[in-house]
Symmetry: C2
Subunit: 438 residues, 2 copies
Amino acid sequence: MTTLSETIRGINTGALRPSEVVAAALDRLDATETDIRAWVRVDRAGALSAARELDSHDSRGGRSDLSAEDLPLRGIPFGVKDIIDVSAQPTECGSPLRRGRIAAADAWIVDRLRQAGAIPLGKTVTTEFAYFAPGPTRNPHNLTHTPGGSSSGSAAAVAAGVVPLALGSQTAGSLTRPASFCGVAGYVAPVGHWPTTGITGLSHRLDAPGLIAATVDDLRLVQAVLSGTTTSPDADAPERARLRVWTATELGDVEQPMRDAVVRAAAGAGAAEADELGWAGRTPALVEAHATVMAYDSARALAAEAKKPGQLSEPLNELLERGRRTTDDDYHAALSLAAGARADLLAVLADADAILGPAALGPAPRGLAATGTPVLSRPWQLLGLPVLTVPGYRDAAGMPLGLQLIGHPDRVDRLFTIGQRIERHARETASPAGRATA
Amino acid sequence: MTTLSETIRGINTGALRPSEVVAAALDRLDATETDIRAWVRVDRAGALSAARELDSHDSRGGRSDLSAEDLPLRGIPFGVKDIIDVSAQPTECGSPLRRGRIAAADAWIVDRLRQAGAIPLGKTVTTEFAYFAPGPTRNPHNLTHTPGGSSSGSAAAVAAGVVPLALGSQTAGSLTRPASFCGVAGYVAPVGHWPTTGITGLSHRLDAPGLIAATVDDLRLVQAVLSGTTTSPDADAPERARLRVWTATELGDVEQPMRDAVVRAAAGAGAAEADELGWAGRTPALVEAHATVMAYDSARALAAEAKKPGQLSEPLNELLERGRRTTDDDYHAALSLAAGARADLLAVLADADAILGPAALGPAPRGLAATGTPVLSRPWQLLGLPVLTVPGYRDAAGMPLGLQLIGHPDRVDRLFTIGQRIERHARETASPAGRATA
């Protein structure tokens, strides 16, 4: 994978032109897509034309009215999960019910990246309405394994080295899980921090847009562009991180290599404190409350679609049916539980920099009929906190093992600082074959 | 008013001892309280004892196990709105229904300040359950005028120079309005960013804890302590601010001196852009949606109290009755409107640093039977965004005129930077009598 930071350096020094970067992305796409199947639609002509337009802003090219500062992502091609609108292209949401539905305008997040000089290369595969029913995408690390979902195509396209950046979203574990399975870095913004305008969602209480890139460094750069911050990467770097470690074993059978990766990451973060989180007694109820809120909200968000059950998958019909059966009282009880738990966790995070835990139960499961379980994301997505998925560790077979860092919405910078340390540690302790033996 | 920053400097250089600071606060309280009536209960013995304990951490005093960095607010006395728990003291919420109800533990925000070395001096007057029915507090700038509410005592105690810091909260306009009326600085944290543990609230969707201090500089310091950030105050300081100006005239009769103050502040912020916000067509519906959500949630939060209407004020009975009549559908429609508006406003704030508008329709109205209208806060509190109230401007009679800055939850630092500029401008353009002629 070429990183976004390397590409930007190349463009800014004049060693690379945006049109060359886009052409290389298309070449790589052609070389991998038959295997990976990450893309729903590729806008070759549009992307190349936008790139050539940006070539003329080149430092060698004469036009100097727009500087690197004005276009911090100049010439960076990116993939867009197919629940997110790109102007004049269809948003099909992985469902026949939305086939050919053309978007009138860019989603906020796409518009924002375009303004920064990035170029949408095309739409990536999503599961049906970002829920469970998988698309055709395969895991680049082993084609017989799932890439995870629902942001399947975005994670796989970055992992395959086609694009240095792709957009995803998370309602349960839709970004954290595919990032972990595909060995790439993921960032889920705090719920409500970035506009979801132009994104087909399931729950306005749970949906959050997010980013997938090759490294945490890259994510940090794009996060700053989207949040409009100018804080330098090192402005907030405590010498020693204070972590709360969450083993997650109360929620499922966390595999041994993943458990090992958590322990190694805690050491790699240079943690001054790495105490047990001590929430094992609470997360099961949060998982259940998350499922209640998601079902209730989804039934309302997809009320029109619910009238055509024959065109929906069985898991989605079940979700919507559960949502219709959920009473207002149960819904409010779940939200109330969430509010209390959020307050308590924010108090924990006032004395700690982040919660470190496994991003998934283990590496990507074998098979393409399902995308794995989001159970390890549900408690935190219910609380709406920022989540960073850190890649770098692998199991003995070379399959990626992602870790998640959950942080305080006021201190996203801190989350990135710690993620970068863990990522560096994973890289430095990788075996010569490029694999960390966990 | 002595500022918090000055006091901390005095303590850190050894010129002041915490016990001297607390004793001076108590003296000032005794000299002003007969007029102002800001306090429900003062913990003289507890505060003095805590201060003497902290004296021994003095740079001159020998104990060096806790540095200024460990106790960034050492010896700072603060007031606590009487809906916020202080361990072993009653939390009476301005209501006979809660008389003598002792809190078992500190609220999160009180505990956090205590850990930083600050000292709770006592409980300040709140309106009944932080809604409309006023307590006895008077405006320090003119005793015949309301201090605003519901954080009446906290705003008045800071304005009277008793404490450099006080805690408040906001569900509609409960902090922004009294800060404006009393000529002090106010900060309402983004909804959900600080735990509300130990605070008796009305709505977990709208309630936000907040701070009142003499200056924006002081607020920034305490905000950093509470959010655990270490970013330097100048880490994020754009040369020119990009403002969206909101005249608010669609929501009420904004008085001329207040309109003038907004224009002067836009200039004082060094704004490169000061475009009209252009939301006049939208805010009335947001005000209505806010009232719907607040009523619905309050009826549930105060369900036990609602059974004793004889012990509640008429306005509160009306609010709870409205809440009981509000249907689930109306409630969800209001929340849905809020979610859409929040996304749209965040998009505006991606290209602007803050929205600048009047914090209230004008200066504090005459009379103590009502606390003024929160209408100018309702739209923004519904969206859950951070709000900074900036003092400094005054009308011809010398009554304070506060401005509000509404910002992006990812860029609270930016909000403070701009607020500090406006505050400095107001100070520099004040007439020799210490009054800006607006």
